[in-house]
């Protein structure tokens, strides 16, 4: 006889199983209390990646007006700098809420939208602003996604969220964000323990001020200098540009000259397509409209492709894709403060263009 009786098996295992069970239950309870309740995220470093997501959630709490028509605006830092919710809402009947999270990708926007939905906020439309990809690595494996998404995830995402990554390393990190958020938030917890008073001030004094200032933030004053290029995309006239701006332009030109990484571009295109469709489907299921908008690509038209690349989404019910050149007029140096972000003038202009377009679309004209 090779196998022993079941009662002997139980005798040999029950003590360890019982201990591990007790350990697991207690650990799970502590994790639930600290992390899954959202308690810790409220004191997470406001200027961190996780803090940026929490700020977006707190922002909606501040500016949401129950009963009014609401448009949620999603994007990355280009939307944070280039769109003003307050300006867009002024004098209209629509409340635009800017939920841009710097450094985020469409995956984060989806989970953010889902969280907002589950929190009971109602909206008429979702405006998703997509910039042209500047990532030199696979967006699907974006390393900042787990810290961005940690406050938005729950145990129901245990399998689906890690599966949305393809490398084993990122899947592990994604699993940590759900099952052991303390690992994802290691740096944050360590700095909290090192300087709790400073964190207290950041969270309870500086953040409310920051969120208040966001509403009236008008954008950067600086602007890129006018520069003349020849047909080979070489600079003919630097104009009034500073040494710093020249370095920035030269670096950009150099990156344009590198051979395009077609597999990477295809991969990132597929990633955007997948998550934008997921967002659209979610919004449609909730009876609202999704509006996709391509952000102005950069300050120098001469350095950009002539054609506006189409957005990686297919037309569907409740889905509106604004033409690629709707904000094409903003691709000028006077509207940018660096190669990616709009300045004060660009912000005001883009806000006007977008809000007018959205109002028209929602009014059914």
């Amino acid at each position: 006889m090779i196998f022993d009786t079941f009662s002997h098996f139980l005798d040999r295992t029950k003590a360890l199983v019982f201990f591990l069970g007790a350990l697991f239950l207690l650990w799970f309870a502590v994790e639930a209390l600290v992390w899954r309740s959202g308690l810790y995220y409220k004191v997470a470093e406001p200027w961190s990646n996780t803090g940026a997501t929490v700020n977006a959630l707190m922002n909606i709490e501040r500016v949401y007006r129950p009963g009014s028509r609401t448009v949620l605006v999603f994007g990355d830092s280009r939307v944070a700098e280039g769109f003003s919710g307050q300006l867009a809402s002024n004098g209209g009947h629509i409340n635009f809420i800017n939920l841009a999270v710097p450094g985020s990708t469409p995956r984060t926007w989806y989970y953010l939208l889902r969280k907002i939905d589950r929190s009971g906020y109602k909206y008429e439309a979702v405006l998703v602003c997509l910039g042209f990809s500047t990532l030199q690595r696979r967006a699907s494996e974006w390393v900042l996604d787990p810290p961005h998404d940690a406050p938005l995830l729950d145990l129901r995402d245990t399998f689906s969220y890690p599966e949305s990554f393809s490398t084993s390393e990122m899947r592990r990190r994604a699993a940590y964000a759900i099952l052991a958020p303390a690992v994802t938030m290691q740096e944050d917890v360590r700095t909290f323990l090192t300087a709790p008073i400073q964190r207290w001030q950041e969270v309870f004094r500086e953040r409310p001020g920051y969120l208040g200032a966001l509403t009236v933030y008008s954008g950067h004053e600086e602007r890129m200098p006018p520069i003349a290029f020849n047909l080979n995309r070489e600079v003919c006239d630097w104009g009034s540009s500073t040494a710093e701006q020249r370095a920035l332009v030269e670096a950009n030109i150099a990156s344009l000259r590198t051979k395009p990484n077609l597999p990477l571009e295809a991969d990132n295109h597929a990633y955007d397509a997948k998550w934008l469709s997921t967002i659209a489907a979610w919004v449609h299921a909730h009876g609202a409209k999704t509006i996709f908008f391509r952000l102005p690509r950069g300050p120098y038209r001469d350095l950009l492709p002539r054609e506006f690349a189409p957005l990686p989404v297919e037309a569907a019910d409740g889905l509106i894709i604004l033409p690629g050149d709707v904000a094409g007029e903003l691709e000028r140096p006077e509207y940018f403060f660096d190669f990616l972000h709009l300045n004060r003038f660009g912000r005001a202009r883009m806000t006007a263009i977008l809000s007018n377009n959205v109002r028209t679309l929602l009014s059914g004209k």
């Binding site: 022993d4 295992t13 360890l16 090192t194």
Partner: protein, 471 residues
């Protein structure tokens, strides 16, 4: 398959559950198979070496036991030569060839063997030597069961980095399968969690500092100062190796076997002799029983004792690896032990022993011992003799850059808090209470606290291997 990897814990869970399903004899066979799987995870060819060594030593044991007189001694010599031969070929051959070639200015060329050092070879060869010697000394009868002997050699928790298991400790445990009690579970889990904490929180956070210093910035101005690099390695190696041992002891206890302690707070030793009673105990006691005592032990003249100490420590040093630095490290400790003996003799002659041993002076002696031991680690860690000399030069300049300590203050809390913990739990009363008397919720809560510390402070994605795995 490292003890701090998810892969190992999945393996251990399967091992625990499947072993629990089996009757005694099949469980032993299965445990051997699992141990070979564990060993083969590094390189399946190592299993052939392990199997061959096991079979040869099994028959050596029977042969030693069956003989009397000089032929018994001859077979023992053959067994020892076989095991040392294995070590010589796999661990030291290339080292001796390159050293010999360098000495005579010839190119080693084709004399070099293209072989990989099998992990844990130093451990299982020493265990096999102990087995044959114990039979020769009449302390043990040769084990008749091949299964029992194979399990003694291959049992996976101690296979690759010890502790060096003694046949007299292990074979009696194979007679009766122990029932896993609540005490065993708590004890095992305590050791596992303690070991993981030492390894992934303490050792792995010191490792980057030690590595950065010893692998690059030894001569770079403004880099990690020598004192920080050396201290970081002193803490890394202790927490790493004692952490490994704790996990090995915890795992074996959960599987129904007990390993002896391998570390007893060695950095708190008041003198170097005491340090070697507390550091890598299984190796130092092996060296005492199978090398120092056969050389005459304390029965020979005083100068001979001192000479033997240096020989034993030198060989103990080279056991760690095929490098002159390890030999120098061993000889350095030999010289420290000799100095300590001479010091004690001088104190006895002046009748100052009681004064020297007073409790008031103990911290001073402890600190002195720690400094000497830490200085010795330079030879152990530096990649060659020149690098070690550079480190000593940097240490001797005395221009310590304490800014580095300030910027990394959280890390240096670890040894400080460890010291405070050792003072609070001087006789391990708290740890024993947690295992023996604390209620379930309290025991589980202490476990959860360790898990939370692991989650928060572990060095993630660093993949730092255990230091002693390469020996």
């Amino acid at each position: 398959m490292f003890f701090d990897s998810l892969q190992f814990w999945a393996f251990f869970a399967v091992a625990f559950l499947t072993l629990a399903m089996l009757r005694d004899q099949p469980a032993k066979v299965w445990l051997i198979a699992l141990s070979y799987v564990f060993y083969g995870a590094w390189d399946w060819r190592f299993c052939l070496l392990l199997g061959g060594s096991t079979l040869a030593n099994y028959y050596f044991g029977l042969a030693v036991d069956a003989q009397q007189g000089s032929s018994r001694k001859r077979i023992l010599a053959l067994a020892v030569a076989f095991n040392l031969g294995l070590l010589g070929v796999f661990k030291y051959y290339n080292f001796f060839v390159t050293s010999f070639a360098a000495l005579f200015g010839i190119a080693p060329g084709s004399m070099i063997l293209n072989i990989v050092l099998p992990v844990g070879i130093s451990f299982f060869t020493f265990e096999s030597i102990a087995y044959a010697t114990d039979i020769y000394r009449g302390k043990l009868r040769a084990v008749q069961s091949k299964v029992d002997f194979a399990l003694f050699v291959a049992f996976f928790p101690h296979l690759v980095a010890g502790p060096v298991i003694r046949p007299l400790d292990f074979f009696p445990q194979l007679k009766h399968r122990l029932q896993l009690t609540q005490l065993d579970v708590r004890w095992g889990m305590r050791e596992i969690l303690k070991g993981l904490l030492k390894k992934v929180v303490f050792a792995d956070n010191f490792a980057p500092i030690a590595d950065s210093y010893f692998m690059g910035s030894q001569t770079a101005p403004g880099g990690i100062p020598a004192i920080a690099g050396v201290l970081a390695f002193a803490f890394q190696i202790y927490f790493d190796f004692s952490g490994y041992t704790d996990i090995a002891r915890g795992c074996s206890r959960l599987l129904g076997y007990r390993f002896p302690p391998n570390f007893e707070r060695p950095y708190l030793s008041p003198d170097i002799a005491d340090f070697w009673h507390r550091w890598h105990i299984s190796l130092s006691s092996w060296l005492k029983d199978y090398l120092y005592i056969p050389l005459g032990g304390s029965r020979v003249s005083f100068p001979r004792i001192l000479f033997n100490l240096i020989i034993v420590m030198g060989l103990g040093g080279i056991w760690h690896g095929a490098s002159w630095n390890f030999l120098i490290w061993g000889l350095y400790h030999g010289v420290l032990l000799v100095t300590h003996r001479l010091w004690r003799r001088a104190l006895a002659a002046m009748k100052l022993e009681r004064l020297s041993d007073s409790k008031l002076l103990r911290p001073l002696w402890g600190l002195t011992t720690f400094v000497f031991v830490t200085v010795g680690w330079v030879f152990f860690r530096a990649k060659n003799f020149t690098a070690a000399c550079n480190t000593f030069q940097a240490l001797a300049t005395g221009s310590f850059d304490f800014k580095f300590f300030y910027t990394q203050w959280g890390l240096w809390l670890i040894p400080f808090l460890s010291l405070v913990w050792c003072m609070l739990d001087r006789k391990r009363g708290i740890q024993d209470w947690l295992v023996e008397r604390a209620s379930w919720p309290i025991a589980a809560a202490s476990g959860v606290l360790v898990i939370l510390l692991l989650e928060t402070f572990s060095a993630i994605d660093t993949n730092i291997p255990f230091v002693y795995f390469r020996f």
